[in-house]
Amino acid sequence: MSELLRLTDVTRTVKLPDDTDLHILTGVDLTVSTGDHIGIIGRSGTGKSTLLNLLGLLDRPTTGTLAWAGHDTRTLRARAAAQIRGRDVGFVFQQFNLLPGRTALENVAAPLMYAPGSAFWKRREIAATMLERVGLGARLDSMPESLSGGEQQRVAIARAIVRGPKIVLADEPTGALDLETGAEVMGLLDGITHETGAALITITHDVAVAAMARQRFRLEGGRLHSLVDVAA
């Protein structure tokens, strides 16, 4: 397994309107390799989404280093970060975040609009294959609003993996689903990333969802603790 991401002593601080600092993350260390399934559990406001944004190169650490495939990202330009994000990172959001007014096929094909060469020209075929893979081959032309929550999240999963990312970041992927559907979706997400060899990082407040991960962490007070450590 090769190393994808390494966070070393990462902090994230934001300035509040009263000019004081709010420390959201403090001294976070984390290593992610291909094929990993990491579950990060934490209550609301503990910095789960902030951590996910850092991992997805949507945000930058205030201090500490974040290395992507061995390269420090502090000097990474926004354009290069966007290219890595497009090519190697897939996102699954709690609220699905499907593009309104577009069919399931168009939503899944959307990331391929930023792909070079044949992937762009064959985007519809690739997207259709991906939707069949998540069991929505019969709903290609359905609009998001005509799909159930579980189906919408499956479309979002297909969209996240359509460019064959090295890492899939799931932010409360079952948060808007009932228990049964949530379990189905997590099974699908776990299975599909396992098949493709992509690392899966799930951020959740649901213990059951986190339990599906092979490595588990708890985010508390801005610090990341290995659940093994906690147990110990």
Partner: protein
């Protein structure tokens, strides 16, 4: 290449999805471009109408008139003799289009009584000099001088007075006097705005034969249509030659055509252009307004796209392209609408009534319409595009 194609596809998807909003916002632009293109096209037709009217009144550019008077008594020389000399000089200088012109009065018997009309003696080339195109029948021919009854072409005013309708030619008209003369009307031209009277045209050579015995022509002059380059020296050379061949005459050459037609047209052009620009500005403002409101609604979508790997330049380009593609389509529709309006029978029947050579729809007007629509699209897209690239991804996704 792929990035450009993708941006176009993306822009088109946006337009398709938000078609109602796009349609509403683009109506203003389409109408403005249509108005602008129509204004340019109609002004081109109006310019042609002004040019033609000027040419009917004063001749084509550049037309010179030659007037000759006796140095002793101020009387003009005998028309036949000066006519012969003028024709020889025209041959010598290789001037193709020239005409002798003489005025006369005649009385015409009408169903309602008799009326004084202008009888203008001209040569065949007069129609070319004055852009006269018969509305019915034909113009005078050199062979008409040999006819057993004089051939005349009448203007629309006389035609109406004679109660002759369409397809009623050839017809006859009787010119009164001591010996009434019945002439054959072979053609009809538009009414003579210059004299403001009913007018009949007869060949200069035929006038003497039929009317010369009872009434002499007055205001006899000779006109020639010459190339603009070197026209002035040429006209002076003609006058000099005329003087040398007919000594004892004072000979004058004057330019006949109107030379300031461009000036009179400018005001019209500026007024129409100003109104069109104002309409366009309002259209652009409404487009910008809707584009700004929309981009605020699309913050989340932009954030999601950024999470897929859309770079800031790509987001900027996509938002710009949406505006440009949309306004280009609106502009195209506006231009097509303008072509339809300008070429419609309604315009042909009610607006373009005074033009013989209707100019084709000016390509420049169509190009201007499209260029303006692209410019409006770019300007209206710039501000929303700048806002779109300033969106913070994290905030946008949570929006």
């Amino acid at each position: 290449m792929t990035g450009f194609a993708a941006a176009i596809v993306e822009a088109w998807q946006e337009l398709r999805i938000h078609r109602l909003r796009v349609l509403l916002s683009l109506i203003g632009v389409g109408v403005a471009v249509c108005a602008l293109t129509c204004a340019v096209a109609v002004s081109s037709i109006a310019k042609q109408a002004l040019v033609e009217q000027a040419e009917r009144e004063g001749g084509r550019p550049t037309t010179y008139g030659l007037y000759a008077y006796s140095n002793e008594n101020g009387e003009p020389p005998p028309p036949a003799e000066s006519r012969r000399v003028f024709d020889e000089i025209m041959d010598e200088f290789d001037i193709t289009y020239h005409s002798a012109i003489g005025e006369s009065d005649a009385t015409v018997a009408l169903p309602t009584g008799s009326r004084h009309v202008s009888l203008r003696a001209v040569d065949v080339a007069y129609a070319d000099l004055r852009r006269m195109v018969p509305e019915q029948g034909r113009w005078l021919d050199a062979k008409d001088a040999q006819n057993l009854s004089p051939a005349v072409v009448v203007d629309a005013r006389l035609m109406k007075a004679l109660r002759l309708g369409p397809d009623s030619l050839p017809a006859t008209v009787t010119f009164g006097g001591e010996t009434p003369i019945t002439a054959t009307i072979v053609g009809q031209v538009r009414k003579d705005e210059q004299s403001g009277r009913s007018t009949a045209y007869i060949l200069f050579d035929a006038y003497d034969r039929w009317f010369g015995a009872t009434q002499q022509m007055f205001d006899v002059n000779f006109q020639m249509w010459v190339p603009p380059k070197g026209a002035k020296p040429l006209s002076k050379a003609v006058a000099q030659e005329f003087s040398s061949q007919l000594p004892g005459l004072q000979v004058q050459v004057n330019r006949q055509d109107s030379s300031d037609r461009g000036e009179s047209f400018k005001t019209f052009k500026y007024v129409v252009g100003g109104i069109s620009a104002l309409i366009l500005l309002l259209g652009a403002m409404s487009l910008l307004n809707i584009a700004l409101v929309t981009i605020k609604q699309r913050v989340r979508e932009i954030g999601i796209r950024r999470s897929f790997g859309a770079t800031t330049s790509r987001v900027f380009f996509s938002v710009m392209m949406e505006s440009v593609v949309a306004t280009f389509v609106a502009g195209l529709v506006g231009v097509v609408g303008a072509v339809g309006i300008v070429n419609s029978p309604l315009i042909a029947d009610h607006v373009i009534t005074n033009v013989t050579d209707i100019p084709p729809f000016p390509i420049s007007a169509a190009v201007l319409g499209l260029v303006v629509s692209l410019a409006v699209g770019s300007l209206a897209g710039l501000l929303p595009a700048l806002i779109a690239v300033r969106v913070k991804i994290i905030d946008a996704i949570r929006f």
